[in-house]
Symmetry: C2
Subunit: 339 residues, 2 copies
């Protein structure tokens, strides 16, 4: 068994943009296991935009990340030692193990740890398409947008862990899937590999009027469903192209996580187009995880649901990788290799 | 039978604020009845904020009001002559008879005309609490906000035809009802006569911070449901006080009908509080009218649902009364006496 554990804690809260100085890498002893606990050698850490919101000390849907404690984060790994009868050394497991190499779980706590099958599905996918991001896509699209065949669905951050699944699930339901992403390479991937009908490179359409014109070309029948990850100007432009009775699943506002304005200027459309908008956080819809994971797992095992990963090489690289994620520098699901 | 009919047509479209010059009073012959038609002597015309939106030639949820045609509007009256077997002279009826003294209805068209009982409920109430405004309140509150006992419901334009019903229905469901209205007299009426728990005079709290402080006092547990008629700064302030899983029924944006900004600056709250927002127009939910009218009619007949009317004396006074409505100069339901 290991004696020492590398981990990253929140050293300070960002003022505006987050920076590497907000994090601190520490080496601490691995604690001895108590009854009911399980020690996991973590293989991958998931980096996700929600972590940026937790770094603030603000009214939010979740408690702020405490200072000087290990950063929150989803992880996959393999059980190294177990003092809980439900787990044995060698089991592949998913949990919220945080930014560290070794994690101790109270396995008796419901939902703390989940055994997964790493034979049909690669372990890292349980942090992406068959994990929280995939379920987020499923809940927002299937449960809140309720897409109907022939409708047009738009998703921004389309090459990311969530957006890529949204578009593929929409295509599987007979919809027109339109992505918005930053860069020609991401857009090419979204259309050519993921099978979206179109993708708009917002970096080529910085002015709202230009973005609107590109959207008119990509979504000639208007927009019936919007899966919103970004907020700000992009959200406003898509709102202006929503059809009557359109639905918006509001999943993230990554453009405003450093405090930028997120004003919705096209609020009038919410009324005149009789839109429905629902903000949500996937962990509050646990009853939807089983049907979501069933569909997602089947699609990934069968090779029908495609995804891409960007993997930072080790824990020390996690802060830079996380800041890059907030800037859209990653390509697909951002992971950190821990073992 | 009459030979001449006074009516008001839309003479021009407003540029910014509407004015009396946008209307023209005409005297035209009453047409001879065709088979299936009914001639109604109109007693009351309803003036409603939605008419302002119809005056624009813009993308909207309904076709624009055509120029040089009689202004659209709900009316109650008494049948003067009928060439339809379902109606007889003396019947009290409700329909969209428009801004005119006499109206010819194609009674065979479904929904064109509806007989009402004027013995238990005053005729004018079918344009208010037991008509479109009352049903609008019911649909937004009961169907979209889905209030639960003990929750706090906020409605702006609270002394108006819609808002007054929203608060009373919320009280009947065991909620805390908080109104927002313009003026001490309206606020006193909302609390003392309509039975709301509190009412905020927005004219006394022009600054957002002051309005927010007043709302904190009136809704100390935060806001669970918002019935939004106004938009703009008031909407933004109430959004900032919404509780997790709050619901917004977006019914009107009267503060922006002349083209003013309706930007939502607190868009972040839609996500962080996981809010649900639904824009709606009551005429698209016809299946809800029967249960709504059943409850509303029973409450009005029993004296439990209170309302107030402001009645302009004749058709010539309608344009000024309508412009006053848009400024909040009316008190309760704005009507025009036609007979």
């Amino acid at each position: 068994m290991p004696e020492m554990n590398q981990r990253i804690v929140l050293a300070s809260r960002p003022r505006g943009e987050a920076s590497v100085d907000n994090f601190r890498l520490e080496t601490v002893p691995v604690p001895a296991l108590q009854d009911g606990q399980v020690l996991v050698r973590q293989h991958f850490l998931s980096l996700d935009p929600y972590m940026r919101m937790r770094m603030n000390d603000a009214k939010n849907y979740a408690a702020p990340q405490p200072l000087n404690e290990v950063m929150i984060g989803g992880t996959v790994g393999v059980v190294a030692e177990s003092r809980h009868p439900g787990y044995a050394a060698g089991d592949s497991v998913v949990g919220m193990g945080g930014w560290q190499q070794w994690a101790v779980f109270d396995a008796a706590q419901p939902g703390a740890l989940r055994k997964v099958d790493a034979t049909r599905i690669p372990l890292s996918a349980y942090l992406g398409a068959v994990g929280m991001p995939g379920v987020t896509a499923w809940v927002g699209l299937v449960h809140f947008i309720e897409p109907k065949e022939g409708e047009t669905i738009v998703v921004d951050a389309a090459s990311g862990a969530v957006g890529s699944v949204v578009g593929q699930l929409a295509k599987a339901r007979g919809c027109r899937a339109v992505g918005i992403a930053g860069g020609a390479d991401k857009c090419a991937y979204v259309v050519e590999e993921l099978g979206f009908d179109a993708c708009i490179d917002y970096k080529q359409h910085r002015e709202p009027a230009a973005l609107a014109a590109a959207l008119d070309a990509a979504a000639p029948k208007g927009v019936d469903g919007l899966f919103e990850n970004v907020g700000g100007a992009i959200f406003d432009v898509v709102l202006s192209r929503m059809n009557a009775f359109g639905r918006v699943a509001l999943c993230g506002l990554i453009s405003g996580y450093d405090g930028q304005s997120l004003a919705i200027h096209n609020a009038r459309l919410l009324l005149t187009q009789r839109l429905r908008l629902q903000g949500f956080i996937v962990s509050e819809h646990m009853h939807l995880w089983p049907p979501a994971l069933k569909e997602l797992g089947g699609l990934v095992a069968g090779g029908q649901l495609k995804f891409r990963e960007t993997v930072a090489p080790d824990l020390a690289a996690a802060p830079e990788a996380f800041l890059g994620l907030l800037k859209g520098r990653n390509f697909g699901k951002q992971l950190v290799k821990l073992a």
